[in-house]
Symmetry: D2
Subunit: 199 residues, 4 copies
């Protein structure tokens, strides 16, 4: 695939205490290794130029910590501002995916991932699932298995509430790398398909 065919993948995330930023970096790393051009945007300080980068991206991966059963308020402020893109359906047919971190194993992270998918559907985007079987579901599994927490809609991470970003679990980092790589590959396929059908 020529450089011109390289898909662009934007990560639009908010991190409260740095744990989600570590996951965002892992998603970026996975996507870059799979050949995507990656742009990481902290949505609480998003600029007009960065909004334009989202508009131009092949895929947007949303990320935020889960607080009180949903994404952080800073993420919701960004999502509400995306209404300007919603009216003209500017993000239609882009790929979307998501990741989240919280202190508890479950902690209603599924609600955050489901919300990301709902918002993406409002934008007319296509949702790319995690694409991994759950780790640690049998007696022979271990907490080091990829997707140790067993999410499907996106990547879920769990970090102790009393430890810093260095405590993000290596399995959760590997899971996030997988998500980035997966979305990059699917974005390459969609991009190549559009080019082929337009030819």
């Amino acid at each position: 695939m020529s450089h011109s065919g390289r898909p662009t993948l934007a990560i639009a995330f908010h991190s409260g205490y740095g744990h989600t930023a570590v996951i965002a970096e892992a998603v970026a790393r996975g996507a870059a290794e799979a050949g995507a051009e990656v742009i990481s945007i902290s949505v609480d300080t998003i600029t007009d130029e960065q909004w334009a980068q989202l508009d131009a991206a092949d895929a947007i991966i949303f990320g935020a910590p889960t607080y009180m059963g949903t994404a952080s308020a800073a993420f919701h402020t960004f999502a509400q501002a995306s209404t300007k893109r919603w009216y003209p359906q500017a993000w239609a047919d882009k790929l979307a995916a998501g990741f989240t971190n919280s202190g508890a194993k479950n902690g209603d992270k599924s609600s955050t991932l489901g919300y990301f998918a709902t918002m993406a559907a409002q934008h007319g985007m296509h949702w790319i699932s995690l694409g991994l079987q759950p780790g640690w579901a049998s007696t022979t599994g271990s907490e080091d298995d990829i997707n140790r927490l067993g999410f499907f809609m996106g990547a879920g991470a769990q970090s102790p509430t009393d430890a810093g970003p260095e405590a993000v679990h290596k399995s959760d980092i590997a899971t996030a790398e997988h998500l980035g790589a997966r979305v990059a590959r699917q974005a390459a396929i969609f991009r190549a398909g559009r080019t082929a059908l337009a030819a």
Copy 2:
């Protein structure tokens, strides 16, 4: 029931353009008519005194417009701030309920109501459903039926995006009044029960 037994019902809501405020007023009216002491709080300007009123209430009804598949960002800012109440589970065993308004008949209002219920569960609250069969589900139904939109988790309203608060539908207002009255009645029961068992 003596005045001292009157339940206190707080409405914690955000309204973007005034439609949700009309629904909040209807919830308040229904609750007051059913005998509750009602406190209405705009969460985007909530004061310390109002936080204390929430802490003292028997029931809290959450309300917000649905934007991009969830409650407005202003509501989420309030909800995130409620984390201070979450740590000590200060709202445990209170009753909770919810209402929302959006431009579309559906418009992912269910996601907002489900989110309210999820947040309430994080607080250890008991969720009071709408308690109405759906209106307008048969050939003999009409748009003036109560619960014309057929929600169950809470009260859903639909207002045209190009009309002001005066355009809120009278069925949706009646549905909201019902919700307020229902929660007031259930709060009276829980309050009387606690008193009886403590006696």
Copy 3:
């Protein structure tokens, strides 16, 4: 509280391979210890007499394994049959709660608990949340903490897919006992309140 004031709590559950039955037994034990009269009903073999027991109960706790992102099909068959109770809203104002088991830590158990709450809302029931902070969320937590998986809407259990019912985790059993006790207490309050207000 006199025997006549004792609340009746029904557990309506399906177990595929026995793990969910162990959780159901824990819920029953917790509820009985908290003073409720408990009825356990396997919904895949429910009789007319058992339907009548559900109709007479103060609270119904729903339980099923999570398969493919929702309750087992056997549970759904029961839930669909409950439509006969939905038309006359025969279960309105009863308390409801839920529990589920799956092989993965997360495994979309939240979807099953959310579905139980949605079905309960259709029946006009009041949803009782788990009422526990998440265990194991800090560096000093351990897998033996109650609510180790960090659910809020109900009780979530995780059992290895290659082990029998004896492998159900003791933390998940303790969490289920807590749920049963909690619903029993709330049912006692609600029942006493109705009696007091009717007096």
Copy 4:
């Protein structure tokens, strides 16, 4: 695009009283007009040959009526049986979408569509949203607008509970045709992209 490049789209649905079957036919019509080879499968009588057709399809669109807040039990029986495909992730990277019908305007149809998306994510599929702005959201809108009910995750239809399949609303039929065409187009893109990248 040569015949060999034509995407295959399977519709896996259950219809209780014929309304959902009308929607399924509309989805099929839209997909066929957009160039897909379409296979319609009633999941309550699915054969081994039809399971093989699902395995071979580029996209699967799931459909069921919404009963008691989720898909019909017959659909859930099919979904549970798909566990055999889940273990080897046999449906990974296929496209998925969904539609549902109920008697009420809302009626928790969002829960059914959300469940379809959750199940699809468990299979590692990519979820294609409806891709339509909501109709009937302004004072100048009408019930004849496409997507009159304003769903985003998939196509939602509302049919009176006391009328037969001939009463399915023409807006809901148009919305379903749109969904079929949209999934067919995205499946063609995805298929062409895979071919291009493999070349």
